[in-house]
Symmetry: C2
C-alpha cells in the first residue's frame, strides 16, 4: 500500500521531510519549535516570497515533484541574488490533498534541498496543511554581508545594461510542452529546472551594479521595472544577444520568432543589471544603455534598437 | 461593475493592496523590489510561516475577508511571541480566482495591517498568483532584542506550568458555527479573530521562562510538544482554570463538556510556559507542574490530575 499524507498524518509527514534536512552555521534554531531563528550577521535580512499553485505554476504530468522543488527554491533564491545578497535559508508552506503519496512530498523536499545546496542555504521551517490542489509557498532569506542592497531604482543615464544567465530557454520549453512535445530536451529541462547564476548577484554588487533584478517575467518586462523605478529610458540591442540553437529549433518548428523567446520569456531567472561602463563584470553581456527620458521617450520606457517592441512583452498574472 | 482580480490584473492588485501599507524603522527596503530588507538589530531573525486555505482554515460564509486577515496575521505573530520575540514584519503570499472582487483582497489586507499594528509590525512584501481556491501564506519575523529564544525543550522538573490568554473560546465558536448557529457572539468572534497576548511572550522571556509555546493545537496537545521536547512529564490541574460563562453556555446547548473546550481547543493562541516557581509573571495562571519521567509516566507524558486525559486531545492535519 502506498503511504499517503492521509495515512501518515501531519506529524508523520513533518518527520519524513525534516529528517533529511541539512543545516548550516546560519541556522540557530531549526525546524520543530514555534519559529526558527536564523543568523543575520550584518543586522539585516533580505526576504522574498513566492507561491506556486498546481495547474498554474506546474503540472504533475510535465514536472516531477523533484523538479517542482528545484524550481520553487530557484525562483526565490534568484530574487535574493538579484538584491546582491547571498541566500542563507528558506521556509516552506505546503498544502496537498490527503491522497497524495508521501513519496511525492519527499521528492519535492529533495529538490528544494538540492537547489539550496548550490548556494549553501538550509530549510529552517515550514507548515503543512490539507488542500485540494498542491500549493507550495517558499520564503527565502539572504545576507548582504555588509553591502548595500542593489535596488531596481539605481540605474543612471550613461550606465550600460548587462545580463548574465539564460534567456528564453524556459519559455521555449513551455512552448513545446504546450504543443504536446517533449523535445528539444534542453529547453524542456530548462522549463523544469531553471539555472539562475546565483553567485553573479553578490559579484555584480561588489563590482558596483547601480541596479539589478532577476528576469522572471521576461527581459523587456523586467527592464521596464528598472526603467520605471529609476525614472530612466533603457534601450537594448538584441544583436548583442546570441540566439542559442535549441531556441532556433523551437522557433522553426512552431513558426514563432526565436528572438521573442529571448526578449519576453521569463522563468530562466537570468540577472540583468546596470553598471558604469568600466564596472561591467567579466562574463556579463552588454546589451544596451541607460538614458534620460525626453518628450519622445518618457522615463520608464524600454526600447529595442530605439523603437518600441511590437510583440507581447511579458507575463502578467490574472490577465488572460 | 465590480472590479475583480481579472479586470485589475496583477500589478493593479499589488498597487491596490500596497498603497495603504504603513512602515516602520525596521523596514529598510519595503515592497516593490525583488526582495525586502528588514533590520535584525541583534544579528538574528525569528521566522515562522503558516498556510491558510479556503474551506479548510476559513469559510467565506463564516468569516469576512477582514477577519481572515486578522486571523492569518495573529496566528503567525503569536508564534513569534511564543519564542519570546517581538514581531517586526511579515510577507504575504496570496492566491485567488480571477473573479474575486478586489475589495475582498483590500479588506483582507486591512485585517492583516490592523493586526500587525497591535504589535508595531509592517507588511514588507508578497506575491500574488491565480488559484482556484483562496490561499493565504503568511511568513512573520521578529527580533529577540538580544535575549535567548525560549524553546519548547527547556522545561525542567520542579518548574511550574502557567498560561495567559484565552482557552477554548475559538473552539466553542467553531462548534456553534458548525451547527448552524451564530451565537454566543463572543465565542463566534473569538473563532474569527483570536486575541493572542503578544506582549506576554517577551515579558515571559524576560521573567525567565524555561520553555514556551503558543496554544494553537490545544492546551494538552501543545503541552505534549513541550513534554516531548524537554523529556519531562507535565501534570495539570484543570480546577485552576475557570471555565468562562460563554463556554458553559455552548456546552449546555450542545451537550458537550465545557472543560474539553478549555483543554483541547486550539486557535485562541494563548501562551503556555514553564517557570521556576518564583518567576511566574503576574497575570499568568499556574495550572500545573513539571516532573521527571518514571516507569508509570514516561517522559513526554501529559496528565490531568495525575491521570491520562480521556477525550480527544487535539487537532492534527490530514487525519480525519
Amino acid at each position: 500500500m502506498t503511504e499517503t499524507l492521509g495515512s501518515t498524518g501531519e506529524f508523520g509527514l513533518i518527520e519524513a521531510v525534516t529528517k533529511g534536512l541539512s543545516t548550516s552555521e546560519d541556522v540557530l534554531v531549526g525546524p520543530g519549535d514555534d519559529a526558527a531563528v536564523v543568523a543575520a550577521p550584518d543586522g539585516r535580512m533580505v526576504i522574498t516570497t513566492d507561491l506556486l499553485v498546481e495547474g498554474r505554476h506546474f503540472r504533475q504530468d510535465w514536472s516531477s515533484a523533484y523538479d517542482v522543488g528545484r524550481k520553487a527554491a530557484a525562483q526565490n533564491l534568484a530574487d535574493i541574488a538579484a538584491m546582491g545578497a547571498r541566500p542563507t535559508s528558506l521556509v516552506i508552506g505546503f498544502g496537498a490533498p490527503a491522497d497524495l503519496p508521501v513519496a511525492w512530498v519527499q521528492e519535492l523536499y529533495q529538490g528544494l534541498v538540492d537547489e539550496c545546496e548550490l548556494v549553501g542555504a538550509a530549510i529552517v521551517g515550514g507548515d503543512t496543511v490539507q488542500s485540494e490542489k498542491i500549493v507550495v509557498s517558499v520564503t527565502a532569506f539572504g545576507t548582504l554581508d555588509g553591502r548595500a542592497p542593489v535596488l531596481r531604482s539605481g540605474a543612471r543615464p550613461g550606465d550600460e545594461v548587462a545580463v548574465v544567465g539564460r534567456l528564453g530557454w524556459a519559455e521555449a520549453g513551455y512552448t513545446v510542452l504546450t504543443r504536446g512535445f517533449r523535445s528539444p530536451r534542453t529547453v524542456v529541462e530548462a522549463h523544469r529546472r531553471p539555472q539562475p547564476p546565483y553567485d553573479e548577484g553578490p559579484r555584480a554588487a561588489r563590482a558596483g551594479a547601480s541596479s539589478m533584478c532577476d528576469v522572471s517575467d521576461g527581459l523587456l518586462s523586467d527592464l521596464g521595472h528598472i526603467a520605471v523605478a529609476s525614472q530612466v529610458v533603457i534601450d537594448i540591442h538584441p544583436n548583442a544577444l546570441a540566439v542559442p540553437e535549441p531556441l532556433q529549433a523551437v522557433a522553426a518548428a512552431t513558426g514563432l520568432d526565436a528572438m521573442q523567446f529571448v526578449l519576453t520569456g521569463g522563468e530562466d531567472h537570468a540577472l540583468v543589471g546596470t553598471f558604469e561602463p568600466a564596472d561591467v563584470p567579466e562574463g556579463w553581456t552588454v546589451i544596451g544603455s541607460v538614458a534620460e527620458g525626453n518628450e519622445d521617450r518618457p522615463a520608464g520606457t524600454v526600447t529595442v534598437d530605439g523603437a518600441p517592441y511590437a510583440a507581447n512583452s511579458g507575463h502578467a498574472h490574472f490577465r488572460s
